[in-house]
Amino acid sequence: MTFINYAAREINCKIVYYGPGLCGKTTNLQWIYDKTNPQAKGKLISLATETDRTLFFDFLPLDLGTVRGFKTRFHLYTVPGQVFYDASRKLILKGVDGVIFVADSQEPRMEANIESLQNLEKNLKEQGYDLKTIPYALQFNKRDLPTALPADDMYRQLNFKGEPTFEAVAMNGTGVFDTLKAVAKLVLTELKKK
């Protein structure tokens, strides 16, 4: 649910990073936070356990500048990836405008990727959205690891509707902004249709 404030001339959009536990959602946000100039970003809020596992969500507000005189602000959220936090994941998807699915490229994590993707589809449906129509991008993270599956294989198994897909190493920033940009573009294009 985009919030368009004609009075303050602002648009606010919500983008959610989804994916299995330890796939690198928070790392994506951390990189964006580190590389954005201080005027354009707010505080990175991380509701995590002592071992840095996301407990509820991470949150990063990002000011991207103006489009047609409107200040464009993106609110980036991550969900907790671990399976048993499903109730929290549903809450965070409320009012989402765009989704980025972060997949873990390591072969043993493939099953977790597929399970998480099905979980995303189901939870979106419960909130009244459809993965087929919502602005959506896919990221294959951890491409630098020796156990990474070939990107083609992953594409066959995880690409849902021909969505923009990116190879990434979130630790060093490879592909991080490309993925965000792709989804931001889709979200703004969606606004155009309304």
């Binding site: 919030f3 004609y6 919500k14 507000p61 609110h75 809450l91």
Partner: protein, 166 residues
């Protein structure tokens, strides 16, 4: 279907700000703040210096969403009021029109009773304003002529690219 986009117009925005301002004065509180359920800040009144408004908005919404989930778990429709008591400052959170969240931050200059009383009155007024706002947005959506006013109708790829230019 998912809830439609929230659109805010100048007239209602001013009304909302007036209601919040009155509430802040009447309840003798420090900050009054309105957030939508998704964590977007709508309006605020009071001394916001030194307060990270965006984080406040998103955490409040997270808080309300989690409490909402708890309510459903035990078979309640919702918990309409949340109250957090601190050493100096307290936060009173309430739902308005099941759609927006009204946050009041106050210290010992006020009291929970007073805040609750004033919040109740302001909630009624806010509810009316939001009804009016929804009707207006609905009418706008149906009205073809107004669509051309949308600033996004002519958004181009270059516009979007330029956002990421740095």
């Amino acid at each position: 279907m998912a809830a439609p986009d929230l659109v805010m117009y100048e007239e209602e925005y001013q009304q909302i700000k007036d209601i919040l301002h009155r509430l802040q004065v009447d309840s003798n509180s420090k900050i009054v703040f309105l957030v939508d359920k998704n964590g977007q800040q709508i309006a605020s009144q009071g001394d916001m210096r030194g307060v990270d408004a965006t984080s406040l908005a998103s955490l409040t919404a997270g808080n309300v969403a989690a409490t909402d989930g708890l309510a459903k778990l035990i078979g309640e429709k919702e918990f309409s009021i949340l109250f957090h008591e601190g050493e100096r400052d307290n936060i009173h959170i309430s739902l308005v029109a099941q759609r927006v969240i009204l946050v009041v931050i106050f210290d010992e200059k006020s009291s929970l009773g007073l805040v609750r009383l004033r919040v109740k009155k302001a909630s009624g007024e806010l509810e009316k304003t939001f009804e009016q706002l929804l009707k207006k947005a609905e009418a706008d959506r149906g009205n073809q002529a107004n669509r051309f006013d949308s600033p996004f109708a002519e958004i181009t790829d270059e516009d979007i690219d330029s956002l990421f230019s740095e």
